[in-house]
Symmetry: C2
Subunit: 124 residues, 2 copies
DNA sequence: TTAATAATGATAATGATTCTCGGATAGATG
DNA sequence: CATCTATCCGAGAATCATTATCATTATTAA
């Protein structure tokens, strides 16, 4: 992976935590203020390569655009159907599910993602 | 909801269980054999209205096309990253997750979906 | 400095899904 | 039965997220 200021700035932006569960388009908008000539393809490319390198995570959300997360620990997501905000939550039964899948159907899980949808506190 | 032979045939096809976790495109291909003049928009429209009516379920799969399920009971899905096959599995901790979300962040979950990805028995 | 390689930005292409349209049809009413 | 109207249909355009292509530029190792 070769250095580029685009990649560097994207990683810094992600790590800053200024963006909350941003989609690629959100990162693009924020990056435009830092590097006005950046293209959307470069944003996608770099988010993908940073994710491949394990420096950030790309998370597929059912029915919505993927989000990118600077947090690397195992956690799940709850999405408010009204405001769209994404909340992190912990639920450490991944091992239990993996074991069950292995025992019952011989399925070797590499990743387990739980996604809750509903209404957040503010929207109720 | 008005009757139409397209909707009727789509529901029959779904209920027959001949299709395994089909995407809209799969339903379209199968329906072409039954009603050769059917259009893809009609397939989407009817799958959506049948899902709205609670007769089938539309399930968003992270990173992939939505699938439609004739099974109405609560279950989760495991997707093989190699062959793409989708497996059903049960894991009745939904209530536990709901309660935790409610207690910790005041989030009222209406649906919880867990999606495992990895390798199925046949692909290992 | 140079040559090889990988990254860039613009834009075209893709895939899934929805929207729009004029025309057809189901089902209620007279 | 005749008619009316809401809903549905099929075709194709439009949308959205994402990836691919390509000519140009920047990085890096020699």
């Amino acid at each position: 992976m070769k250095y580029s200021k685009q990649k560097d700035e994207i990683l810094k932006l992600m790590r800053s935590g200024k963006l909350d569960h941003p989609r690629a388009a959100d990162v693009y908008v924020a990056m435009k203020k830092i590097l006005p000539d950046i293209g959307i393809a470069t944003v996608y490319r770099n988010l993908n390569s940073l994710a491949d390198a394990g420096l950030i995570r790309r998370i597929a959300m059912p029915g919505e655009a993927d989000i990118f997360d600077h947090r690397l620990d195992a956690h799940h997501h709850a999405v408010c159907e009204k405001c769209g905000k994404v909340f992190d939550f912990y639920f450490d039964r991944d091992g239990e599910i993996s074991a069950m899948l292995k025992d019952t159907i011989g399925f070797e899980a590499s990743e387990i993602s739980c996604c809750a949808r509903g209404r957040c506190a503010a929207c109720r």
